[in-house]
Amino acid sequence: MFDVETYFHSVRLDEERCKGCTNCIKRCPTEAIRVRKGKARIIDERCIDCGECIRVCPYHAKKAITDPCDIISLYKYKVVIPAPSIYGQFKNAASRNHILTALKAIGFDEVYEVARAAEIVTNATKELISASASIKPYISSACPAVVRLIQVRFPSLIDNIIKLESPMEVAARIVKKRIEAELNIPQEDIGVFFISPCAAKATSVKAPYETDKSFVDGVISIKDIFLKVLNGLGRVKRPEELEQAGLDGIRWANSGGESLALGTDKFLAVDGIHNVITILEEIENDRIEDVDFIEALACTGGCLGGPLTVENVYVAKTRLKKFIDQARDKDFSKHGQGGDDALMWTGNVEYKPVMKLDKDFTKAMKKLEILETINKDLPGLDCGACGAPSCRALAEDIVRGSAIETDCIFKLREKVRELAVQMMELETKMPPVLDCERKKGK
């Protein structure tokens, strides 16, 4: 698996491809990117792995660290757990069973749908919401980028997060424990691989906040496995009966799907990281009334719009609809087991005060004061030419000591002009020995 680092995050920069343009710095919701020496630099502790920069980069210089497909050969017994968003990727798939059969044929011993585990999480969420009226509204933890966003920018909402394991984690735990018990295979020989639409999920496995160690052994992106499944699909003559999830589970791939599964009208579903920020602001201001549940997804359109998917999100939605209709006729969701306490997180998320200017309050006040003064003096164009996303961010970088005022090209030009004026003035002044026009006594 990938390297261990203090602040692990999956989104990385491809130095070769980066042109040092300002597209990514402007879109980053946590102002985590600066351009330095002609390359974009990600400030690790601020990155929430939303993947917004991957999407916006015209040079494809942002990538997500996931595992290569051949990681599966490291384990004796191989299980694949695909995210529901996989169903929206294939044009000619007749049924989910076809996709799952083709996926399994790549070299897995078993398939277990994360959509099935999503239904278990739905049941647990229902119980949690009906049991407690003290927290309102609850915020889903399904999207790890949103959880991390709350940690960094909305700490007062940490208590509102539903601390239930993600469907991915539940799926991995269920299959591992069952295989260990039924087939008598030790857990370390079982490899469970998540097929992921996004970078944030890779981070969840490498640096989980809900538990000490994830039950998932590898994360493969939909992009990386797409062609293998596509090639296999044509060869599937008689698909295996592999689908277990009902429409409630597979709908999770869509924005609003998790909410609909809860069977309540008192929900609000928001997608796209910048829209999510607006809604979180509203919740912080106590403006959201009569809502018990907030489904917030970082990607536009939900997981189907993930940066590591292949198909356009709207096309994928139409494709998924077919499978939702098929699932409606079958209706598996009834046979689900109820929520159990084991789904609660054993770990917790803490406030990450990465925006703080200084550990010491008095020093932070001082820095803020200087920051405001500098900011007032900057042009306010937010052009990004200094490498920071806005004038205020540059002012912040200056007080943090990582930038100087003349990084602003307008400030620099002002300085150059002042200098030119001074030079012109000096040019007119002649030393007395050369100055023929100088009058006596002057």
Partner: protein, 141 residues
Amino acid sequence: MSDGIIRLKFDILPNDMSAAGEASSGVKKVLNQLGVEPQKIKKAAIAMYEAEINAVIHGGGGIAEVVIDKEYIEVKIRDEGPGIADIELAMQEGYSTASDEIREMGFGAGMGLPNMKRYSDKLVIESEVGKGTTVTIVVNL
């Protein structure tokens, strides 16, 4: 400057509900950078937001002046609107003089002043009919 106190000033535009909340949002960002406890940021932000909304709805806009000291944050929101005739009555939950249009937008439920009181450690309302209203909110840090 340099007396260790931070002063911020924001304009509150009249009749622009979509821009309402920008000032409190800006203050929130600043408090975050200072590393103020999240729950206290929330208190200050909600109280200020309510006052800001009031200035937009009733006061015809105004200005917000924010002072941040080591021990407290003080938000003063001033408008030159119609003023409040009976402050005690206005403080009651559910009492509102907002128009139907405003209510249709989901505002004007008569919770503004009560909310401000709930979320602030000190609330002072000075108002003169025909002249305007000044709301001072203090949240201890």
